[in-house]
Symmetry: C2
Subunit: 354 residues, 2 copies
């Protein structure tokens, strides 16, 4: 590509209308519009070296080591879904953001914004589910806050969790470290969470119930680090926006292209069927218990073997390669032998999926 | 008091109805009903040694020192008020929770839950105000998350911030350390924030505009620690529920009583007038730039002198004493020479004040 030409990624970007514009659902989609809101509004205002890292967690040195901090808001609807609820999700999600930053998660905080009239029994169920997830993971919720707003000013309950963790010496995962020749590894099947939530929302039932994959991935990450530590360039969990958004983000950060092999991407047959029914592409659907890693080629097979030994990595696979590409495109060799682009969605496919 | 009699604080407590009960506005008031929700539901489920500390922040040892973590949700209405907005407030509030735990605040995280249709210009104004507050305080927002919910499912924007900080060696503030004979110190006038917000909500105007006191208190705390470090038992910022809730909490945690001197409590004349008009008691009204400290008697005067040298402690004063009292009552010698109880409100006086 000619250096005098702007890359196409730039040319299709419209400026945020900060004067007359309004927030729409696409700003929460995990797709390109959301990335723009973050870049042009939040990062522009809050400009600092940590946000500029562009990762889902911030890393900084403290006396005694390197620490990461991460946070997520949870607005999922419905609050209870097959395989989890907003309580367990808010624990798993933030633990995972720490874990894919290479950190051993230490502590979580939680805020609850509750709508007046919300049943105490449901709140109790959510708190207990949060507690169980936190206990299973060995990461306690150490501090919290509760606010109540009037009926009609929220939707049941929203939770925000933040977490901190410590990165072992010598480990540095960052989204800008991908290099041509690296392999792309996924820890398991795609789309389970998004399809479980959508099925509940749409009252769909399937022969085999589809459960969210919501899970804490830090012990899987620890096993991966033990096997392939310094060969791992970065990890990320493909939540909102799915694998497509995550890989496009990473391609942009690392300044590379990515080529996937559709036949290698694990998707459960019932999830694939549900996606067809719902008009969804599994590559755009949120996951809450999966991670992708970009890893040096020579370490990829050993890494996948180690992952398969872990309960949460049983379906791990190499799904593609990092390639040189100034346009930072993510493409895919389809199951029929063709090639297609894997773009992130600019709009909103699945609102309030997490 | 006879040991065989239950203290009255216990006898007036009704159990949460976890079967049929619903959340009402009082559960977010900072008063007794909220304390009960936290104890009976959240702390019961999430049971751990850190929540059991009962402070507004959790403290734990990490390699290299002692760290604190704190979080708060912000649902204030209106979003913009005289003296601040939800952006600056969400920075100040969490910095203050860290500071009154004795920590030097290091980093903040932020989540935004935004209602579809919210003007981007307002969101930008909030982000910039947050950035300015964060820059002034020297405490960067290092990581964040944005979620969007459908129109009518939130109220403009809610923010949750979390923060971490490091406690200097040898310092240990905790709400259970008050002892009979200690003095109670306040850093300045009471009620400014609550009255500023209520005035804006009710469209009241006064000859002298009442501004929120929203401010980051960590440099004031640092000056206090320099002067009276080990003599300070604990600090707390009297936000939701005001001074009354904060002192009742501390009295309960420390197992002591507190006797205030009304004449010594600083309240601006215009705030006092507004409180009369609005039917509020300045002792129950939220502050966002004030702290109270419980300090060994011999260090109190020196501490107040040091506070008065700081811009944010110019009206600092000793306002009362810690006394022995098995009932853990907070009482006040009134300006007319009488004595009255200073109870926390069981219900909701000022919804969505922070």
């Amino acid at each position: 590509m000619d250096d005098t030409t702007s890359p196409p990624v730039k040319t299709i970007k419209r400026k945020l209308d900060l004067k007359e514009g309004r927030v729409d659902m696409s700003h929460g989609s995990g797709g390109r519009t959301m990335a723009q809101l973050i870049d042009d509004l939040f990062a522009a205002a809050l400009d600092n070296e940590f946000l500029a890292q562009g990762n889902d967690q911030a890393a900084f040195d403290i006396e005694g080591g390197r620490m990461v901090m991460s946070t997520d808001g949870y607005v999922i609807s419905p609050l209870f879904f097959p395989g989890g609820d907003i309580g367990s999700l808010s624990v798993h999600g933030t633990i995972n953001d720490l874990a894919v930053g290479g950190a051993n998660p230490l502590y979580l905080s939680a805020t609850f914004i509750v709508e007046e009239g919300f049943p105490l029994a449901d709140l109790d169920r959510i708190a207990r589910s949060m507690a169980a997830a936190s206990k299973d993971a060995g990461v306690p919720v150490v501090t919290g806050d509760t606010k109540v707003v009037e009926r009609g000013k929220a939707d049941g309950v929203f939770i925000s969790t933040a977490g901190i963790g410590i990165v072992p010496p010598g480990l540095e995962f960052s989204g800008d470290r991908g290099q041509p020749g690296d392999r792309v590894v996924i820890s398991g099947t795609l789309g389970d969470h998004g399809v479980a939530v959508m099925s509940k929302r749409e009252n769909l039932t399937f022969e085999t119930e589809i459960l969210s994959d919501s899970a804490a991935l830090h012990t899987l990450v620890a096993a991966m680090v033990e096997t392939a530590g310094p060969s791992i360039r970065c990890m990320r969990d493909p939540t909102r926006g799915g694998l497509a958004a995550t890989l496009n983000e990473l391609a942009g950060q690392s300044g590379v292209g990515i080529r996937l092999d559709e036949a290698a991407i694990p998707v459960k047959p019932q999830v694939e069927a549900a996606c067809e029914l719902l008009g969804l592409d599994p590559l755009n659907v949120a996951n809450e218990g999966k991670l992708i890693a970009i890893v040096a080629a020579e370490a990829a097979d050993g890494l996948v073997d180690a992952m398969r030994d872990h309960e949460l990595g049983a379906a791990a696979a190499v799904i593609g390669d990092v390639i040189a590409d100034d346009r930072h495109f993510v493409s895919m060799k389809t199951a029929f032998g063709g090639e297609r682009m894997v773009d992130w969605l600019s709009g909103e496919q699945l609102p309030r999926i997490c």
